[in-house]
Symmetry: C2
Subunit: 330 residues, 2 copies
């Protein structure tokens, strides 16, 4: 991990079991606890630390404060072809998203392409999870989510738009290509990591209090003005993704979502699965880049995963201690 926190290695199965046990105590049925815990554990296993176990204590707090309903499952509310609309009923965001991509994959088996628009759901944690899900089923997966307002659009100093992560995943023989990008150039977590280590950002990452573009992470955090990726481009893309997610699901758009970080809920998401005609093309494209030393989206994951399975999953000590305190005394 690069945020300066102390870490330790925990075997994957032990991590998975511990998280599942905590979730059962929070009211999850056994199978749903195991599935939800698996998604958290796999996220840490794959090196996406911000949305793995490090996010788990907040997830449990959101259950306790009535934002996330453990038993709630998505309900179909419309659609009778390749496009369906579902209501997430404020269930656990990762289980809702997994179910939605699974349904999009089924629709794509029948129609060539499948689309599920999901409203009233919760944060899906690691966006890339559902891209991997599609690619491992041999499909191209595209999905995105809106979020609470957390990013100033180009032309404003106020957080009016979401950072709306977008995923595009394609299957490939040697492991899928999975693009997983939020619309901010750097996440708040990344800015805090750089600031904590006292180093500059590698590129401009936001505005300071006087409205100047800067590489100083502390100044950006102080001003609350992270930058959309590509300036006006990421800003426009975030607006378009929010519109499409809300208009297709009939759910809330970013400006209607509670801006309190701890009360973000009822968000809108879109899941697309499409049957590729030719999977070998991906191998040729990636080979053409690797010959030139260029990394592809998602390349690091398989390496991190292998290391985690061999040495144990790297978890931050603080989150792991929190989990252990929640476990029943044995």
């Amino acid at each position: 991990m690069d945020d300066g926190s102390r870490t330790q290695r925990v075997p994957f199965d032990e991590l998975h079991r511990a998280l599942a046990t905590v979730l059962e105590r929070e009211g999850f049925a056994r199978e749903r606890a195991a599935a939800c815990a698996r998604l958290f554990a796999e996220t840490s296993r794959d090196g996406v630390h911000t949305h793995g176990i490090a996010r788990f204590p907040r997830f449990v707090r959101n259950i306790r404060s009535g934002i996330v309903f453990p038993d709630a499952e998505p309900v179909k509310i419309g659609g009778d072809g390749a496009l369906e609309r579902w209501d997430g009923q404020q269930g656990p965001g990762n289980l809702n998203a997994w179910a939605s991509m699974a349904r999009a994959l089924e629709l794509a088996q029948s129609f060539g392409i499948g689309c599920v628009a999901l409203r009233n759901t919760n944060h899906w944690m690691r966006a890339g999870t559902y891209g991997w899900q599609a690619a491992e089923a041999g499909m191209i997966g595209i999905c995105w989510t809106n979020t609470l307002p957390n990013l100033p659009p180009w032309g404003s100093a106020s957080a009016l738009i979401g950072n709306n992560p977008l995923v595009i995943a394609v299957p490939r023989k040697d492991g899928p290509v999975v693009l997983d990008m939020a619309m901010s150039q750097f996440s708040y977590g990344a800015l805090e990591g750089y600031a904590g280590r006292g180093v500059s950002l590698p590129v401009e990452g936001g505005f300071d209090q006087s409205g100047e573009l800067t590489r100083d992470p502390a100044a950006i955090l102080e001003a609350g003005r992270p930058l959309p990726a590509g300036y006006w481009k990421g800003s426009g893309l975030a607006i378009a993704l929010d519109l499409a997610a809300a208009m297709l699901s009939g759910g809330l758009a970013t400006h209607q979502i509670d801006p309190d970080f701890d009360r973000e809920t009822r968000i809108s998401q879109l899941f697309l699965a499409i049957q590729p005609v030719d999977r070998a093309i991906a191998d040729a494209v990636i080979a053409s880049l690797q010959r030139e030393g260029v990394r592809y989206p998602g390349e690091r994951v398989l390496r991190d995963r292998a290391e985690s399975l061999q040495k144990g999953v790297a978890v931050d000590v603080e989150s792991w201690q929190w989990v252990q305190q929640e476990l029943p005394a044995s």
Copy 2:
């Protein structure tokens, strides 16, 4: 126009008629000449000068050099549900793209969502055209294209990836929202415009010969290193869009496309149309941004269009003279 070229105003109908006449002389059937000319004239009318009449002389050269076949129409090669694959047969890129989005819209009427993957086509000129097409039909339209290799990916100084324009359009009562973004922060045309006027870019736009990020447009052009929008983010997105377009159409990926600007052909594109459940959401989202003084994607188009229809379409004098020389003496 902001590239410093001299312009004059020409009535829309006169512009349309002149372009159609030239195309008929190049071998287009009358109806196809009118349709193709209309798309060029509407592009200039809407203020997107780079891909309107300014691009027309090169389009005619591409016909004469055997890159674009005037009579060729797309042929269906696969798919029997909501996803179809078509071969563009190297026909005119804008007519092929229009036909493909029209077919995606038909499929969406039947299935809720429609997808057309198109291979072996030519440059579609203004990307946003097909977004407007979908939105004016009441649908959400998403489309993208790959291109010749014209952009260095993050981590390389060589132009290995395409700038792969992406369009997301949503219908709205007071005019659609149409995001039309290439994956480079600035197009070559924009860099040349800034350089010609001797002014700096508003933000970093590429690398100079020594590999430093810079706002100097001339230095970027000299080095041939424009920047992907959002650095690694636009680079990754360009790679993902190329993969999806080629894998879904079975066509060429960017690394297989002739890198000669005048010989770019056989590109791959994707067209998605999706039925929104709630169009009023778009009005509320845009109103929430406009209250804060934030512009939305495509906002400028309706204003430019109205001005063009009132005062005549602004065209650069050089291109307009070229067209008039191609017209038969009357």
